[in-house]
Homo-oligomer: 397 residues x 2
C-alpha cells in the first residue's frame, strides 16, 4: 500500500513547460467514480481565476478530478484567465471522458502573468495517459509537480476503521514560507474512500482546517490561490453514519491536515525550526490567539529564533502590541519547560543558558502565560533566516 | 550656526560603558531655562521604566534636561528599573543644579536586562562637565550616543521667522529598522527657541507625529521605549501667538519630524531603498491607510523591492488582504509614473522593463489606485534585505 492514495483514487504528473525550472509542473488527481466534495478557499479579496471557477463548481458538492499546475498562479489575468481555467477543466474532462462540471482546477506560481494555456492544453492528453498507466509513483509525482519554493513534497496518509471496514484519508499539500501567511500559496487535496454524508463533509473540512492550516495563518491573511479540496468517494465501503463514526473521521482528518500544516511551516522558506507558540492565561481564547499571532509573526522574534537567541524581551514586546490588555509584570515566558521570564522579569543567566539549549533544537514550544484568565491558543511558526530573503528576492528572476 | 541646536540648548555625550560595542552611550540635552514641554509615547502595553517615569513628569508641562542612554532599554526590569530611571534623573539634576522634576530620562537597547545603573551614575558628573565645556560638537555627539543599530546619526534643523524674530526647530532622533514598527525603538528630541503657548504645544506635536513618525508605523505597533519629546524655551523671542504663527510653526515642525522619520526608514536595518507607498481611490482615507500599511509591511513586497523586482502581483495580493473591500479588476499600480498594472492586469514587458529601472533608484513611490473613491494615504517603507536578518539574529550576541 506504499505510495497509494485512498481506494479508487489515482494521481499523475507530467512536464508541461510552465515553470522556468525543470521538472514536472502539471498534475492530476482522479477518482474512479464521482466523489462527494467540500472545499475551503482563500479569504483574500483578490481571487485567482481557478478559485473563482472552483467556487462555482463546489456548489454541486461533486468532484471527480482536479488538474493543478505550478509556475503560474493564473491570478490578475482578467477574463482570459477565467477562460483558461475553464479550458484546463474542459480539456481534462474530455481526455478522461467525464463531465466537465466534475473537473476542478488549481494553480500556484507567479501572479499577473498570462497563463501559458497552449502548453497546458498540449500536455493534458499525456497527463491522462500517465494517469491510466499509473501504478505506484503517481501520488509522489503529483506532490512534486505542485511544488513552487517547497523543498520537500508533502503527503500524509492515515488509515481508519468503521465497524470492521477499513478506510483511508490521504492528503497532498504544497506550501512553504508561511513565515507570513502571504508568503506562498497553500494548496491541499484530500482524498478519502470513506462514505461521508455530504452535509457533514463541509463542516468536517472547515473544522479540520481551523485546527491546522488556520493555525499557521492569521486574520484571514491568505494568498490569492489558497484552497483545500476534500473528496470522499465511499469506495472502501466504510460509511460514516453515527456520531461516533463522525468523531473517528474528524479526528483522522484533523491529524492529516495538522501534519501537512506542520510540514508546510517546517518547509518555510529558509526555515530551520518549527516552533509552537502557545499563549495561555488570557482573558479569552480570542485574546490568546491575537497575542499568539502577533508573537508568531514578529520579524524580531523570528530573527531571534534564527539566531538561537532566547530574547524573551522581544516576545513580551510583541505581546504588548497585540491589541489586548496584558499586565506585563504578571507574564511568564517558557521555552519548553525552561522558565526564562517570571512576572515580566528575567530569571537570570542560568535560565538563559538552559533556554539557549532549547533554541538549538529543531522543534520546541514557547509558552507565554499572561496569568489573567483561562484563554488559550496555539499557533505554529518558524524562524526567519537569511535564506528566506534570498529566496523571495529572487523568486521571479 | 553649524552643529548647533536652537538657542539656549546644549548637548553632550560620554562613554558610560553600557553598550557592548565601544563608543559614547550616554547623552544629555539641556536648556538654559526651563522649557515648556510636550511628549508622545509608545502605545505598546509594555512600557519601559523611563517611559513610565516621563509620562508622570510631562503632566507638569515643563522640562529642562533629558538624559538618554543606549545599550539597555530599562524595560521589563520591575521596580528596580523604575528606581534606576529616577536615579538617572536625580543624579543629573544634582549635577546640573536644577530641580529633579525638570529632568527626564530615555533609554534604548536590550529589553529585560538590569540597568547597569552604577556605570550610569558614575558617568553623570563627567557628562554634565562635558555639557558645560561644550562648544560645537555636542549635538552630533549626542546624536551618535543614542544610536543602537542605526548606521547614521539623525539630526535635522530648520529656521523660521515670526514678525522679524528668527527662531529654530532642531530635532535629534534615533531609530532604524522600522521594517516593521516593532523593529527598534524610536526616540526623538525636538528643541525650539520659539515661545509656544503650552496648550498648543501638545496638539502641535501630536499633529506633527501623525504626519511623520506615525506614517512609518502602524496600528499602534510601537516598541516599549518610543517617545518624542518637544521642548520650547522661548529664548529666541519669537512668540507663536496668532493662527498664522501657528501655521508657520506647525509647518516647520512637520518638516523637521518628517525629515527625521524618512531618515529612520532610510536607515532601516540593512535597507537600501526609501519607498513611499501611496494608496488613492479608496472609499475613505482610513481604508487607504489600511491598504498602504498592509503593502508597506508585506515581507513579500519588501523582499521584491530588495530584489529590484517589479512584482506588482504581490502588491495587489497585499491590497487584497488588507481587510477593506477592493475591486481587483479596477486597480492600477504605478512605480513613480510608470503604469505597471491597469485594471488589475499587467501592462506588459515594456512597462515591466521601465518599472525595473525605477526600482533601481534609491527613492521612489509605488502608487496603488483603487479607483473606488477619494480616500488617500501615504506611508514610507524600505526594502527587506539579507542584511536585516543578519543584524537582528545577532543583535544580542
Amino acid at each position: 500500500m506504499h505510495n497509494t492514495i485512498a481506494k479508487g483514487f489515482r494521481a499523475a504528473a507530467v512536464l508541461a513547460g510552465i515553470k522556468k525550472k525543470t521538472g514536472k509542473d502539471l498534475g492530476l488527481i482522479y477518482s474512479e467514480i464521482p466523489a462527494d466534495a467540500a472545499a475551503v478557499f482563500t479569504r483574500n479579496r483578490v481571487l485567482a481565476a481557478p478559485v473563482l471557477v472552483d467556487k462555482e463548481k463546489i456548489k454541486s458538492g461533486k468532484c471527480q478530478a482536479v488538474i493543478v499546475n505550478s509556475g503560474n498562479a493564473n491570478c490578475c489575468t482578467g477574463g482570459q484567465g477565467i477562460q483558461d481555467a475553464f479550458s484546463m477543466c474542459r480539456a481534462t474532462a474530455q481526455a478522461l471522458g467525464i463531465s466537465e462540471e466534475l473537473v476542478y482546477a488549481a494553480s500556484t506560481g507567479v501572479i499577473g502573468q498570462p497563463m501559458p494555456i497552449t502548453k497546458v492544453l498540449h500536455a493534458v492528453p499525456g497527463l491522462v495517459e500517465a494517469l491510466r498507466a499509473e501504478k505506484a509513483g503517481g501520488r509522489d509525482d503529483f506532490a512534486r509537480a505542485i511544488m513552487t519554493t517547497d523543498l520537500v513534497p508533502k503527503v500524509f496518509s492515515l488509515p481508519g476503521e468503521i465497524r470492521g471496514k477499513r478506510f483511508r484519508i490521504t492528503g497532498i499539500a504544497k506550501g512553504s514560507g508561511m513565515i507570513r501567511p502571504d508568503m506562498a500559496t497553500m494548496l491541499c487535496f484530500v482524498c478519502t474512500d470513506a462514505e461521508v454524508p455530504s452535509r457533514f463533509l463541509q463542516e468536517s473540512l472547515s473544522l479540520a482546517a481551523d485546527c491546522s492550516f488556520n493555525r499557521i495563518t492569521v486574520d484571514g491573511d491568505t494568498s490569492t490561490n489558497d484552497m483545500v479540496l476534500l473528496m470522499a468517494n465511499g469506495m472502501s465501503g466504510a460509511k460514516i453514519g453515527t456520531e461516533a463514526d463522525r468523531e473517528i473521521f474528524q479526528s483522522l482528518l484533523n491529524d492529516v491536515l495538522l501534519s501537512l500544516a506542520k510540514m508546510i511551516v517546517k518547509d518555510g522558506e529558509g526555515a530551520s525550526k518549527l516552533v509552537e507558540i502557545i499563549v495561555q492565561g488570557a482573558a479569552s481564547d480570542a485574546d490568546a490567539r491575537k497575542v499568539a499571532d502577533t508573537i508568531a509573526h514578529s520579524s524580531l522574534v523570528k530573527t531571534a529564533l534564527f539566531g538561537e537567541d532566547a530574547n524573551w524581551g522581544r516576545i513580551l514586546a510583541a505581546a504588548g502590541r497585540a491589541g489586548v490588555p496584558i499586565e506585563p509584570d504578571r507574564v511568564d515566558i517558557r521555552f519548553n519547560d525552561v522558565l526564562m521570564a517570571e512576572n515580566g522579569m528575567s530569571c537570570g543567566d542560568a535560565a538563559e543558558a538552559a533556554a539557549t539549549e532549547i533554541l538549538k533544537m529543531p522543534e520546541f514550544a514557547i509558552v507565554t502565560d499572561l496569568k489573567s484568565g483561562k484563554g488559550r491558543a496555539s499557533v505554529f511558526t518558524c524562524d526567519f533566516s537569511v535564506e528566506y530573503v534570498r529566496i523571495n528576492a529572487d523568486y521571479r528572476t
